[in-house]
């Protein structure tokens, strides 16, 4: 009987303990690129939120669309007003899992290439994506990065015929988390 009580306490402790083992950041960065022969477009957001639950390997991202900075102010205005419609769809979010995330040993300096799969929501459309991410543990600092592409048409973002040569139909996205910190 006593053994069951003990098991119960362990289970309870471990579940609450795991629930709190989360890493997060508020200074992640996302940069996207559109390269064409006419012009290159690039914008970055350095205030990307991300949170990673170690036990379940679940990972989430959130970025404010108005947080993307362009070199050309007019491009930024057009991005917000005409393409991504920031007033209607202020955020892009990702909810997914790191496959085999439990392989990561946070105490040992090592680099991992793991698949991250989940749902990317932007411009009011949710699509499943999958990408190979590099997760690095170096002197206790956990960093992560990945590159992937999305099609504008998948997210219902229309490019007027007049500027089709200026904007690539496929946008390259690079995500970089310099350092995750433990959530208290």
């Amino acid at each position: 009987m006593k053994i069951w009580g003990f098991v119960f306490v362990i289970l309870f402790l471990s579940s609450t303990c795991f629930a709190q083992r989360r890493l997060y950041t508020k200074t992640g960065s996302i940069t996207f690129f559109s390269k064409t022969t006419v012009e290159n477009i690039q914008a970055s957001n350095n205030k990307v939120f991300s949170i990673w639950d170690i036990a379940s390997s679940r990972i989430e991202f959130s970025a404010l669309m108005k947080g993307f900075e362009f070199e050309k102010a007019l491009m930024q205005e057009h991005f917000n007003e005409n393409y991504i419609e920031s007033d209607k769809y202020p955020k892009a979010t990702f909810t997914g899992v790191i496959e085999n995330g439990n392989d990561i040993a946070l105490g040992i300096d090592k680099s991992y290439n793991l698949k991250v799969t989940g749902a990317l929501t932007m411009h009011g459309v949710t699509k499943q994506i999958s990408t190979l991410a590099t997760i690095k543990v170096n002197k206790g600092v956990v960093s992560a990065s990945t590159n992937f592409s999305v099609l504008l048409s998948d997210y219902n973002i229309k490019v007027p015929s007049l500027v089709t040569d200026n904007i690539n139909k496929k946008i390259d996205i690079s995500v970089n988390i310099p350092a995750f910190i433990a959530q208290k």
Partner: protein
């Protein structure tokens, strides 16, 4: 007893599973800085004739080509006014995100004008709310055309000069609808008609309604107060803004020929509602010449 313990364990694991279903981000998103600037109340720095609540970004150069044709009521012999064209060329530049300057030259009275415009308040939403945008503009105009007046001939550059100050108070009510009020004071040293007041105050109003992402309807009106010749009327313009990448085309119908503040406030002729309407367009092309940061 065993069963009860098992049930409790099961319950605990269910509880953690449920907690994970909710977005984990909620736990860190509460500290988001949520004050946000409201941008894009108008497509251009001008509603049609009047300064709008929009500013050029730092380092941006706006090359504007403005045309006003003759009265549509002139009929087919004048190709509904297209035979007569009056224009203004101008360069505007954003010194900072809140200060811009511009120079222009108009066909009408061969007038050269310059202005400086500054933003004092910008509309924001979120944590800190600022319901309106507030801007001020000040300008100078000098006409350089030869005067054939027998009496009251302008003697020097001072006689040919005019000045204005304007306040622009505007609000973007929704992503589609924006409205602004723009009271303006114009001083002309030597009005065309000797009986016209040197000082004219006018109340201005402008509005924008977006019909699609890149097309908007605009309205621009100024009502002058003060003694002006009875042939002068209040400038009213109705237009369509069409945006194509770096260009904004502003097509409109208006009774005003003048394209600077002195000209359209104190020297507009023709009754809009009696067919004295001109076709006109503003073409704005923005070049990035300076660095943004």
């Amino acid at each position: 007893m065993k069963k009860i313990v098992m049930l409790i364990c099961f319950g605990v694991s269910l509880h953690t599973a449920k907690a994970q279903d909710e977005s984990m981000l909620k736990s860190i998103e509460d500290s988001l800085p949520t004050t946000e600037k409201v941008t894009g109340a108008f497509k251009s720095t001008r509603v049609i004739n009047a300064h709008s609540t929009e500013m050029l970004a730092k380092g941006n150069l706006d090359f504007r080509i403005l045309h006003r044709f003759g009265f549509v009521s002139a009929g087919v012999k004048q190709l509904f006014g297209l035979d007569a064209a009056s224009m203004r060329l101008s360069f505007d530049y954003g010194i900072t995100n809140n200060i811009m300057i511009g120079i222009g030259r108009s066909t009408f009275r061969k007038e050269i004008d310059a202005f400086i415009k500054g933003r004092i308040l910008q509309q924001t939403k979120g944590a800190k709310i600022m319901p309106i945008s507030l801007l001020v503009a000040a300008g100078y105009a000098v006409n350089t055309e030869e005067s054939f007046a027998v009496v009251n001939k302008p003697k020097n550059i001072v006689d040919r000069s005019a000045y204005y100050v304007q306040t622009i108070i505007g609000r973007k009510f929704s992503s589609k609808f924006s409205l602004q009020l723009s009271p303006i004071f114009v001083h002309t040293n030597f009005p065309v008609n000797a009986t016209d007041d040197q000082n004219i105050f006018a109340m201005g109003g402008g509005a924008r309604y977006k019909v699609s992402k890149r097309i908007a309807l605009t309205l621009d009106y100024h009502h002058p107060f003060g003694n002006l010749d009875s042939s002068y009327t209040a400038p009213l313009s109705l237009g369509v803004d069409i945006e194509t990448g770096g260009h904004v085309f502003q097509l409109h119908f208006s009774n005003a020929t003048g394209m600077n503040e002195r000209a359209y406030i104190t020297q507009t002729t023709g009754d809009f509602f009696k067919g004295d309407i001109r076709l006109g367009f503003n073409l704005s092309r923005i070049f990035k010449v300076g660095r943004r940061h």
